[in-house]
């Protein structure tokens, strides 16, 4: 840890040996050079020890790792920003912000040197570091984390929990889920996002409308009726418009039961894709579900439960929630394509079947009464509204700054991110360019 000076027989160099260590290790831990007073502080902490003492070193290391400047990303700012309670970040603060944003770890030596030499203060020097960090594999891992958080991929339920249930077995048929199917579905979504971000940089529109499949696990590709995706080869494609984009992938369709959940699908799109607020249901709305006929389609059951004219539920469910979920009812609860819903009794005996209806008026923008006949229309209306780009920009803002947005103070940044997506710019570019936004390089002090 200390180098040869700690193990040689010369006690005269012990003091400089220790000082050098505190300076080097402190600089790494606190992500900036230590001020003279800080050096003295840690020297004093070692003081009961003399010479090279492991116990004293342990205290110094522990204290540095408990320091507020290590535990938190402390930002004091440098020059004030005219007209606002903000200051530009110092070079070392900026290096840390860049590094923690893209890599989720401390700056590497090169970035640290760019801060030390002042290169990070220049436009070219800063751009060079942003390019370098963004091009590093560590950024891909960070962006993966962003995608997983945004699309809640870790929340996917295991799908094999009902495998012993006769009804579920009858529903699944030859596709009874294995323990890892839900993971394969999440992996597929992540692969789709990675492909359009890194491999073949695409636009936000591509994410929502692509016909390409990135499913690799045979258990999943069997549900899709496509060959597995082999990285490095062209991805297989669904028939045009039959399964467009993210929202029709199994991860966003499965329920863990034999029935789809149009309400949950609708709420997911409203919350996660459109960033819409849905008011809470009236008190005790779920307490007394009326009995429903087992031979009604899921859509018909949902309509019977939540779209009763004059009921408190109808307002939101009939207009904002259910229609979005109905649009993807052409896929069953395992994500398989279907035109009819099959019914089974509790023992798994078939009761019959009925055609599914995917027509709806999704009201992506509530005043818009345009009809959709299925998922392709739903995606078209979502893209036409511009809301999904704004929402995605909002998610990325939260991920970048680790806080909720202030629609007034952060409005310009949000708009720049949104516009970068809406104008057909690449997703990859937007993910990088956030670091070029003025707000990334300053700190508000209030």
């Amino acid at each position: 840890v200390l180098g040869a000076c700690a193990t040689d027989t010369d006690p005269a160099n012990d003091d400089s040996c220790l000082g050098g260590f505190i300076q080097r290790f402190g600089e790494r831990a606190l992500r900036r050079p230590l001020a003279p007073a800080e050096l003295a502080f840690y020297r004093d902490l070692y003081a009961p020890s003399t010479g090279i003492d492991p116990a004293g070193l342990t205290d110094v290391v522990a204290a540095l790792l408990l320091s507020p400047s290590f535990v938190y990303l402390v930002e004091h700012g440098a020059e004030p920003v005219a007209g606002r309670p903000a200051a530009s970040l110092s070079p070392f603060e900026l290096a840390a912000r860049l590094s923690y944003h893209f890599w989720q770890t401390m700056p590497d030596r090169e970035l640290f040197e760019a801060a030390r030499t002042g290169a990070l203060r220049t436009a070219d020097g800063y751009r060079a570091q942003v390019d370098r960090l963004f091009g590093d594999a560590r950024t891909q891992a960070t962006i993966d984390q962003f995608f997983q958080d945004t699309f809640k991929l870790a929340d996917l339920p295991r799908l094999d929990q009902r495998n012993a249930d006769p009804l579920f077995k009858a529903f699944a048929g030859n596709d009874l889920p294995g323990a890892a199917l839900h993971t394969a579905m999440a992996d597929e979504v992540l692969a789709l996002l990675r492909h359009h971000t890194w491999d073949t940089p695409g636009s936000f529109t591509d994410l929502l409308s692509t016909d390409l499949s990135f499913a690799r696990a045979p258990e999943l590709t069997r549900l899709y009726g496509l060959p597995p995706y082999q990285p490095g080869s062209p991805p297989p494609a669904f028939a045009a418009g039959t399964r467009p984009g993210l929202l029709t992938r199994a991860a966003f369709l499965v329920s863990g039961t034999a029935s789809t959940r149009p309400i949950m699908k609708g709420v997911f799109v409203r919350h996660t894709v459109l960033c819409d607020e849905i008011p809470p249901p009236p008190n005790n709305a779920a307490a007394t579900p009326p009995p429903v006929d087992a031979r009604l389609t899921t859509r018909q059951q949902v309509e019977a439960l939540t779209e009763v004219p004059g009921s408190a539920c109808q307002g939101c469910h009939a207009n904002l929630i259910n229609p979005i979920g109905f649009a993807t009812e052409g896929f069953d609860a395992l994500g398989r394509s279907r035109t009819e819903q099959r019914f089974f009794d509790e023992r798994g005996q078939p009761l019959g079947q009925a055609p599914v209806d995917t027509r709806s008026v999704p009201r992506i923008d509530p005043p818009d009464g345009s009809a959709a006949s299925g998922p392709a229309d739903l995606v078209r209306l979502i893209l036409r509204s511009g809301k999904a780009e704004a929402c995605f920009a909002r998610h990325y803002f939260r991920f970048t700054f680790a806080r909720w947005e202030d629609l007034t103070a952060d409005g310009c940044t949000l708009e720049r991110l949104r516009a970068a997506l809406e104008s057909g710019g690449s997703l990859r570019s937007m993910l990088k360019e956030v670091a070029m936004d003025p707000s990334f390089r300053e700190r508000i002090f209030e």
Partner: protein, 511 residues
């Protein structure tokens, strides 16, 4: 300064900080503050303890949860228009089992007459608004709910510390912190139960969850030090220097945002508490019970079976009580007691159907027997002549909902122990007002429900049982503990004086 958010790096830094706290384990530990028999001591010497068990969902038919109506032997008028009742809690023996109700059933060797005489079953305690799914209501932070309804959404705007934390930071409860290694042991299989200010001593900052320790071994290590490790530390603890480091930054003349200053204040407070724990223990012999405590070899964090996991955590709670290193514990269980936990939501929402009700009732029975009674028995050993650790404790098991999941009318409360003589025990108390039938629209044909007394009064009763004066926890004009919210569907359902009397100890309970 960035300390929150969902980034993994931030979480791992927090973990690092917690790990660094483990350094304390190497420092001398002197275990015992001996409890005394409450009967022989003046009231100020009482050192009651509290254990909160919380299970999620509820949805148990009242006929399955509570003893038969015949057990009520005495009726009295609480206020005009509100009749309440009580009777001696009596077990029925059937084969090798004994029971108070279908859920409160166990082996007769566990549910003994002696233990029944130390229990109470309380029926008719309501959170008087539609709170929906929640975990914070058990201990008084109604704001921690899922916003399933308009009332719950409204409650989210007013978070509060939970009563376990009120105890933990009350000078009336912990008059002397010597030997107290953990003010509260928050543990169990689920979180969302315990909350406090980010700076508890100053009661400032934001209300934050106290995350549960899921490893019984880790919890044990926070409470105890292996034998032979005592003795003077080789060096002075560094906590005071770390504190100094924070103060230097906190008081810097460089820019810091208000939020950053608050975060530093919070962190300073936590470090101060760590320092207190480092220097708290002083040499002295342990109690006889403590001397028998051995470091466990099994860890709940490596045990898949939920019953066993909770038992292991409860073992640490019992050990800490016996050694005087903590006096409060919170243990949460989620949906681990049904055969397929992922089914719980569907089961709970179909509580009124026979099959789901059987599964739900059975899961709670398993919890009662395997966890609640298990700890009660372990604590029911003599602490001082004629008085057991259980006598000096209040164990309380509460459920998330009443009979109807999401609904908080008649949340069952099962207790054991007298809180060092504060509470009378061995009773079945029915606080419901059967003159005011409570029926949601469309619920015809279901079991009737009746409003009773408020949850705020129950929480206030617990705090008073712990020796905390009302002046310490009540807010002006808000009797009891908790938000005073009354939902629109509940307004006018309580007889005059019921809401206003929530400051008082629950009827029948004061010894």
């Amino acid at each position: 300064m960035t300390g929150g958010g969902s980034r993994r790096s931030v979480i791992s830094r927090r973990l690092l900080l917690r790990g660094a706290g483990g350094v304390t384990l190497g420092l001398p530990f002197l275990p015992s503050v001996q409890s005394r028999a409450f009967a022989a001591e003046p009231s100020f010497a009482r050192q009651p303890r509290f254990v909160a068990f919380a299970t999620h969902h509820g949805g148990i038919r009242e006929t399955n949860m509570f003893p038969a109506a015949e057990m009520i032997r005495e009726r009295s008028t609480l206020v005009p228009g509100h009749l309440i009742g009580r009777g001696p809690l009596t077990r029925t023996v059937e084969g090798t089992d004994a029971y108070l109700s279908p859920v409160l059933r166990a082996s007769a060797s566990l549910l003994t007459e002696r233990l029944v005489s130390k229990m109470n079953v309380l029926r008719g305690l309501d959170i008087p608004f539609y709170i929906g799914h929640h975990s914070g209501g058990h201990l008084g932070n109604y704001a921690r709910n899922d916003g399933n309804g308009t009332d719950g959404r409204q409650a989210q705007g007013s978070p509060m510390p939970t009563i376990d934390q009120i105890m933990a930071w009350s000078p009336s409860f912990y008059r002397d912190l010597a030997g107290i290694k953990e003010r509260v042991m928050v543990s169990g299989l689920s979180g969302g139960l315990s909350y406090n200010w980010s700076n508890p001593g100053a009661r400032s900052g934001t209300i934050q969850e106290i995350r549960p320790e899921t490893s019984s071994l880790a919890l044990f290590n926070r409470i105890f030090v292996p034998p032979g490790s005592s003795g003077p530390p080789p060096r002075r603890p560094i906590v005071d220097r770390v504190l100094e480091d924070y103060r230097l930054l906190r008081n810097t003349n460089r820019r810091l945002s208000a939020a950053d200053r608050q975060r530093l204040d919070d962190h300073l407070a936590h470090l101060a508490e760590l320092q207190r724990r480092l220097v708290a223990a002083s040499p002295g012999p342990g109690t006889q019970s403590c001397a028998a405590v051995r470091r466990p070899t099994e860890d709940s964090g490596r045990t898949p079976e939920p019953r066993r996991r909770l038992q292991l955590m409860a073992d640490v709670v019992a050990a800490a009580f016996m050694c005087g290193t903590s006096r409060v514990a919170v243990l949460g269980a989620y949906d681990q007691f049904v055969p397929a936990p992922e089914e719980w939501h569907g089961l709970a929402h179909n509580w009124f159907n026979t099959g789901p009700q059987q599964l739900l009732s059975n899961s709670y029975r398993v919890f009662f027997q395997s966890v609640f009674l298990d700890l009660a028995q372990k604590l029911d050993v003599e602490e001082s002549p004629g008085v057991t650790f259980l006598d000096n404790t209040l164990m309380a098991w509460t459920q998330e909902s009443g009979m109807q999941t999401h609904d908080s009318v008649t949340i069952p409360v099962i207790t054991a122990g007298s809180a060092a003589g504060f509470l009378a025990t061995g009773m079945y108390c029915d606080y419901r007002n059967s003159q005011m039938n409570f029926v949601w629209a469309g619920r015809e044909g279901r079991d009737p429900m009746f409003h009773g007394l408020t949850w705020n009064r129950w929480l206030g009763t617990v705090l008073q049982a712990m020796g905390i004066p009302r002046a310490e926890y009540e807010r002006p004009g808000v009797p009891g503990y908790g938000q005073p919210l009354i939902g629109p569907d509940h307004k006018g359902k309580y007889a005059g004086g019921i809401i206003e009397s929530a400051s008082e100890v629950l009827p029948f309970l004061k010894a």
